[in-house]
């Protein structure tokens, strides 16, 4: 892939430093969402948060989004079958043409999430602004949502935890998954993975309001071909992919 080419890499590095500067410092103006909601205000149904992942920019072997997620949310970063992984890098190889692809998979924040349908207590729910969350106060740890999720986006906490992040409560015996960094989004920031990807000079993940026709993500979805994974299930995920 192109990332193997050192010259191109160096160029990308410089270009991305510029891009990162653009993306982070004046991000307020660029994406028009960086003003967090006032503290006393509920999440609005007028907004639908989503992401557009450009797999052409996503690097084979780059794991920065995963590392950033683990750090932000206090995950151990372990990859045992019992460890939580909210976001993972998936390497794809087309069985016919042999084309290689690399992309992150996390909770797809569906409009019609199967996890919410099957949850017996209503612990899994979809917030008004489209973020799918687990209310751990209500989760009884039955793992039915994990059986139902077509993206295998959820993890179960198998061990007692200590020293959780104040913004990200997590506990043994409950199910968890990507929250779209809801605590950051509510403050008007971008999810940690998006920020890390920009910092790595790739800017492969675009975050924004899918309902706002003027948002960067909406504009891009209008102009380039993007796809949802398992689109056949008609769940309308909020995470879209370019180049698959």
């Amino acid at each position: 892939m192109s990332a193997e080419n050192p010259e191109r890499r160096a160029f990308l590095g410089k270009a991305s430093a510029l891009a990162a500067g653009l993306a982070i410092a004046p991000g307020v103006l660029l994406f028009g969402f960086a003003h967090g909601r006032p503290a006393g205000e509920a999440a609005s149904g007028k907004v639908r948060w989503g992401m557009l992942v450009d797999t052409n920019q996503c690097g084979n072997g780059c794991n920065d989004c995963v590392t950033a997620c683990n750090k932000e949310n206090g995950l151990s970063g372990g990859t045992k079958a019992t460890d939580s992984q909210w976001i993972r890098k998936v390497e794809l190889k087309n069985m016919k043409g042999g084309r290689n692809l690399s992309l992150p998979v996390m909770c797809q924040h569906c409009e019609h999430p199967p996890c919410v349908d099957v949850c017996p207590t209503g612990a899994s729910f979809r917030r008004a602004d489209g973020i799918v969350l687990v209310d751990k106060h209500r989760c009884i740890g039955c793992r039915y949502c994990m059986m139902a999720c077509p993206y295998k986006a959820r993890s179960f906490v198998h061990e007692p935890l200590a020293d959780q992040k104040p913004d990200v409560p997590r506990g043994k015996g409950t199910v968890e998954s990507c929250t779209l960094c809801v605590h950051r989004v509510d403050r008007g920031e971008q999810p940690a993975c998006v920020e890390a990807c920009a910092k790595a000079g790739r800017g492969a993940i675009l975050f924004g309001d899918l309902n706002d026709p003027e948002s960067e993500i909406s504009k891009r979805i209008r102009t380039v071909a993007s796809a949802q994974i398992r689109a056949d299930l008609m769940l309308n995920p909020g995470i879209r992919y370019e180049g698959i």
């Binding site: 503290a39 205000e41 509920a42 008004a128 602004d129 751990k136 020293d163 104040p166 506990g171 509510d186």
Partner: protein
């Protein structure tokens, strides 16, 4: 879980005892029964000498009247919890993190740890299990973030 509270006033001391019971038991019969039971048990623990001495952290003006907080902090927290979790209303006044920020001990920056720590001290005294800190951080946010 529903909560029942029994508060008894001795001089200027208000003792409130939260009792966790299943909702279907919170009928008047149960309350009467518990009230009688508590009256019988009262003299044993009513004295000032064994009341918990708490490190109230930064202290200062609480977001609500302390007497009200003693009685209803769990309801306030639970209400705020559902608002924040389900609706995304992040009111810092009644957030658990806000409470901890003020009341974490000046020694270990936590509301847990020993009989002087704000949450643990009183809950041990009242004999009520806290379920919050299996998932939530018990440390003052600024400190918890710095140590990560």
């Amino acid at each position: 879980m529903e909560h029942c509270y029994y508060h008894l006033i001795y001089g200027d001391k208000l003792l409130s005892v939260p009792i966790r019971v299943d909702p279907w038991l919170t009928n008047s019969m149960m309350k009467t029964f518990l009230f009688v039971l508590l009256l019988a048990a009262t003299p044993a623990w009513a004295g000032d000498s064994i009341a918990p001495k708490l490190d109230i952290g930064k202290g200062g003006q609480c977001v609500e009247d302390p007497k009200l907080m003693r009685k209803t902090h769990m309801d306030i927290l639970r209400h705020q919890r559902d608002e924040t979790m389900r609706l995304g209303i992040r009111d810092p006044r009644h957030s658990l993190a806000g409470c901890i920020d003020c009341h974490a001990s000046t020694k270990n920056n936590s509301v847990l740890g020993g009989s002087e720590n704000f949450c643990q001290g009183c809950h041990v005294y009242a004999g009520v299990k806290i379920d919050c800190f299996e998932c939530h951080s018990s440390k003052r946010k600024t400190v918890a973030e710095a140590t990560k």
